[in-house]
């Protein structure tokens, strides 16, 4: 609806989320040159720092993407470190076995599997997070990510906490149940699994932050 006489451009900033009356809505798809020109007229605000509800959601989605990349490292490291933990002592007798591996403990098997699933989920959810950056109004994507992140919080917390319980028994033993602390003998195995548990708990913290971020970005009004 451009006039022929004057170049009367009305900058409609979509603060309240209502559709602008003019026929020049900022395209919600991948921003191309016209949008950037329009924004350059309004001061050259960078893509992620634009104001309004959409800019806020974009910023949250970008932080969401960064957090996913950050959480991928600890989960993968925990899975790999536990899966490759294998220690054999140099003493051999007939009655006592001096080898410790992760699959001697069903809890560590669950730990490896859960962290591998979490790492794979993080990789698969990266495109969804990118879609959340490009389209700030798509709350369905954020809702899906929130549901997946909540399930992952439960899964990784359960795995890390169960492994922590076994690591604690391996370190301290249990007087009442006559469970000897095996870390006295298996130093390397214990160190490796303890480090994996710590890394997994870091990933749990990041997952919880992801849930809170998605919930904040779903709100109609920016929190």
């Amino acid at each position: 609806m451009s006039s022929a006489n004057e170049a009367t451009v009305i900058h409609v900033d979509n603060t309240t989320g209502k559709a602008p009356v003019t026929a020049q809505p900022p395209p919600a798809a991948a921003p191309t040159a016209p949008v950037q020109q329009q924004q350059r007229k309004s001061g050259g605000v960078p893509f992620l720092l634009r104001g309004g509800a959409d800019g806020f959601r974009r910023c949250m989605a970008f932080v969401d993407l960064l957090l996913r990349i950050v959480a991928f490292g600890p989960t993968l490291a925990a899975a790999i470190a536990t899966a490759t933990s294998n220690e054999t002592l140099s003493v051999f007798t007939e009655h006592f076995e001096f080898r410790a591996r992760f699959d001697d403990f069903p809890t560590f098997t669950f730990f490896v599997a859960a962290n591998a699933i979490a790492a794979g989920y993080l990789v698969l959810s990266l495109p969804f997070s990118v879609v959340g950056i490009i389209r700030p109004k798509a709350t369905v994507v954020r809702l899906l990510l929130l549901i997946g992140d909540t399930v992952m919080v439960v899964l990784v917390t359960a795995a890390a906490s169960a492994a922590a319980a076994i690591v604690y028994v391996a370190h301290e033993g249990n007087m009442r149940a006559n469970w000897v602390p095996i870390c006295m003998n298996f130093h390397g195995f214990c160190e490796r699994t303890s480090g994996s548990v710590v890394a997994s708990f870091l990933a749990v913290l990041v997952f919880i932050l992801l849930v809170l971020l998605s919930a904040c970005a779903i709100r109609r009004r920016p929190c």
Partner: protein, 225 residues
């Protein structure tokens, strides 16, 4: 976007802060029924009734808030049962020797102590969050309250899951033992202790599932409004 010929003036009312010139497209020319003005006017003028109770458009979110309230009451039972069952688990065998101890109690295992504390904390949290949930049922417009409940639900969910999982690991160890580490399965002797703690673990996992439902429901309700 006003042209000079036709009197199609669209007064644009939403102005970004710092963008000045709200009178760029004034209604100076004969406004031939601008469609945007009455719509904007009715949206900006608030209803005269101060508190919107039982408005028809609130039905969906009110229903979800009521479901949230019910789920909280449903999650409280298993948690209280888990806490009490773990706290009263104490078994003494009738055999006594000098070298072997034949009594098992929950505080011999740090994981069960953690389960007791976390279940009690989560049960207390549910009781404390019931009034907030009731306020959301009465006044479904509040998204900030829903968001706060979602934040605290997530934190308590993580705590409860950690406690339940740690107790599960110890219960599995007590049932099956471990050949490689020479850990004997103590459930062979302590039947009652094992049954009670296993039941407590199952109940706390049920509450974990209900907490997950609470978080997802809150997210849906936030999106709806």
């Amino acid at each position: 976007m006003s042209t000079s010929e036709a009197a199609t003036v669209l007064p644009v009312y939403d102005v970004a802060p710092g963008q000045g010139e709200p009178s760029k497209a004034p209604g100076a020319a004969a406004p031939s029924a601008p469609p945007a003005a009455p719509a904007a006017a009715t949206k900006t003028t608030a209803r005269s009734f101060p508190m919107r109770l039982f408005h028809r458009s609130d039905r969906g979110s009110r229903c979800m808030a009521f479901l949230d309230f019910l789920l909280r009451i449903a999650a409280f039972g298993p948690l209280l049962a888990a806490a009490i069952a773990t706290g009263t688990s104490d078994e003494t065998l009738s055999v006594f020797t000098e070298f072997y101890q034949f009594r098992a109690r929950f505080d011999d295992f740090p994981a069960f102590l953690f389960l007791l504390v976390a279940s009690a904390v989560a049960a207390g949290y549910l009781v404390l969050s019931l009034p907030f949930s009731a306020v959301i049922v009465l006044r479904p417009q509040t998204t900030i309250l829903r968001f706060l409940l979602l934040v605290s639900d997530t934190i308590v969910l993580a705590l409860l899951t950690a406690a339940a999982a740690a107790a599960t690991a110890i219960v599995a160890l007590a049932h099956n033992g471990n050949e490689r580490a020479n850990w004997v399965p103590i459930c062979m002797q302590f039947h009652g202790f094992c049954q009670r703690t296993s039941g407590a673990v199952v109940a706390s996992f049920l509450s974990v599932f209900i907490f997950v439902l609470l978080v997802v429901l809150a997210a849906f309700a936030i999106r709806k409004r």
